[in-house]
């Protein structure tokens, strides 16, 4: 078995046992990127020099016995909307093409403190707005499972990098499904933790009340190991929480006997592909066979999740993206008549079409005459959706469904019709509106050989239950590849 085929935890163990030097792992990873980046384009920035520098320091720490993390020395990639000190952070936008932050995201710092080796910054939809990684100003990323397909988005570069063996795991961000949907399309495990579990400091905001960071990983064990390192209250993120129940590695035990699993009927209506539906329901049967109690039930307000999500996300985004004005950092137009010309020309040329569309929609829903009818209304519906989930969790421990209505679409197909693309977020946005944790893991392939993902949603701070269920299912189905 080649070095890059190991999982992150497997590699970490070999590094800890001194069977493999950190430098060797990096050599293997960069051999992969040299061979396949031309094909997939997972990265916006690769930092070989920096990676070898980190490798040297981490190896010293390991040799000195002062770095005993399970993931020490393991090469990983970070989505390019997470700030990395001294390393260009673009958000896949022309606006930030030259931006080099003087600080790192808290999540990146935590991983690096544990000895993780950052190899580069992955491609994504511009400002995390999109589901295909096609809105990037740095070119598209191809799905390593099928080169004519998108890897999903917005964390498509992170997903593709892990799927292609170019990184052992990667950080993604999830505002409306941006970790889980690419995990689904690339055959990976991706988890969006409970809102507030991972510090957002240094995450370039899209929609602040829903943004969370999480891992894209080869298997459930890796996802648990990475998320366990990430979860911590951070005094720099005022809405991060002090929480318990973060022994995710300890939760990796087989057994779902008596676990109550609910499947919302509405998730299997119009719009879902038959193959996805069949694979997800087959997974449900396997849970049942393993002793879980599985039932279909009526989840209220399912059809309102997407419109509520886009209203709120676009409103917050329109404000979050005001800071990009060509003054303090970022793109500045070359010609302008005056201050307002500078703003308009820089922003119009610096942002792509999808970003501008969402800024305009967000501006509209917050404008004086529309605030109540659109924005406030969406916030009220948001609460009703959360109440619907709370009601469901009175009866069930886990809610099971797909992560996307279909397998990865062909390149170039989705952006034709943005509304149609938004509708495909139906299974993922609820977890962001409510803050609940949700994990996506592979549950089969379609006839074309494209991966299908299964999504499990848990109670707030209930990731341990999700990891146990996912781990059990993974054991039943067989591990990655």
């Amino acid at each position: 078995m080649g070095l890059t085929e190991l999982s992150a935890v497997q590699l970490g163990k070999k590094i800890a046992a001194k069977e493999i030097r950190v430098r060797e792992a990096l050599d293997a990873v960069f051999a992969k990127t040299d061979a396949s980046e031309g094909k997939y384009h997972c990265f916006i920035t690769l930092d070989k020099e920096g990676a070898y520098r980190q490798a040297e320091q981490v190896q010293e720490r390991i040799d000195a016995g002062v770095c005993d993390s399970m993931l020490a020395g393991v090469p990983m990639a970070v989505k390019d909307n997470l700030c990395t000190a001294g390393l260009r952070t673009t958000c896949a936008s022309k606006m930030l093409a030259q931006f080099v932050p003087p600080y790192s995201a808290a999540a990146v710092e935590r991983l690096q403190a544990a000895g993780a080796i950052l190899i580069g910054k992955t491609n994504m939809d511009e400002f995390a707005m999109g589901s295909t990684t096609e809105t990037s100003a740095f070119g598209i990323t191809k799905n390593p499972c099928a080169e004519d397909r998108v890897p999903g988005g917005s964390s498509g570069g992170s997903a593709a990098a892990v799927a292609a063996g170019e990184a052992y795991y990667a950080l993604g961000t999830d505002t409306g499904g941006s970790i889980r949907q690419p995990a689904s399309h690339c055959g990976l495990v991706g988890i969006k933790p409970t809102y507030g579990s991972v510090s957002r400091y240094g995450l370039i905001a899209y929609a602040s009340s829903m943004d969370q960071i999480g891992p894209l990983a080869k298997d459930v064990t890796d996802a648990a190991a990475v998320l366990e390192l990430l979860c911590a209250q951070d005094p720099k993120d005022a809405v991060s929480v002090k929480r318990e129940g973060t022994n995710f590695c300890g939760a990796l035990q087989e057994g779902v006997k008596g676990l109550r699993i609910g499947i919302p009927k509405a998730y299997f209506g119009q719009g879902i592909s038959e193959e996805v539906s069949a694979a997800v329901l087959r997974a449900a049967e396997e849970f049942k066979a393993a002793g879980a109690v599985v039932e279909m039930f009526d989840l209220a307000y399912v059809k309102y999740a997407v419109p509520a999500y886009y209203t709120i996300a676009d409103a917050e985004a329109s404000s979050n993206l005001e800071r990009y004005d060509g003054i303090k950092y970022g793109y500045r137009a070359e010609e302008y008549a005056d201050l307002h010309g500078l703003y308009r020309k820089s922003r119009s040329a610096g942002f792509g079409t999808e970003v501008k569309r969402r800024i305009l929609l967000g501006t509209f829903v917050l404008s004086a005459d529309c605030y109540e009818a659109y924005y406030l209304k969406a916030l009220k519906v948001r609460r009703l959706i959360r109440q619907a989930f709370e009601n469901a969790f009175a009866d069930y421990d886990v809610i099971l469904g797909p992560a996307a209505p279909a397998t990865a679409p062909k390149l170039g197909e989705s952006l034709q019709d943005p509304l149609q693309m938004y509708l495909a977020d139906i299974y993922t946005v609820s977890a962001n509106l409510t803050g609940l944790p949700a994990i996506c893991l592979p549950c089969g392939k379609d006839r074309a050989g494209l991966p299908i993902g299964l999504q499990l949603t848990g109670r707030a701070f209930g990731e341990e239950v999700l990891f146990r269920a996912a781990y059990t299912y993974e054991k039943i189905r067989g591990a990655w590849q």
Partner: protein, 103 residues
Amino acid sequence: MEEGKSKMTDTISDNMLEYITVLAQLETEPSEKAQLKMELARMLEYMAQLQEVDTDGTVPMQQVNEEGNAFREDVVTNTDMRAQILANAPAVKDGTFVVPATF
């Protein structure tokens, strides 16, 4: 609700598009306008589905964690980091950011 919907769609008039582009400090090419208006209207019409939901007595939920209260103490933790703050600026002079006249 049909009435409400069509009213919402009409809101993307030329004036409204102009109004929100000015607020958002963006500009639109005349050639893009028709397409953009249509897309925005379609999206807003879709968002307007929310009008169907009875939300009487429902408190808006702007945050997931509503208990709140997080503070920092009033202690200086930062030192001069001007060089880093200015490092990404397109135009600087004598330690300041440079912009066209605002007066």
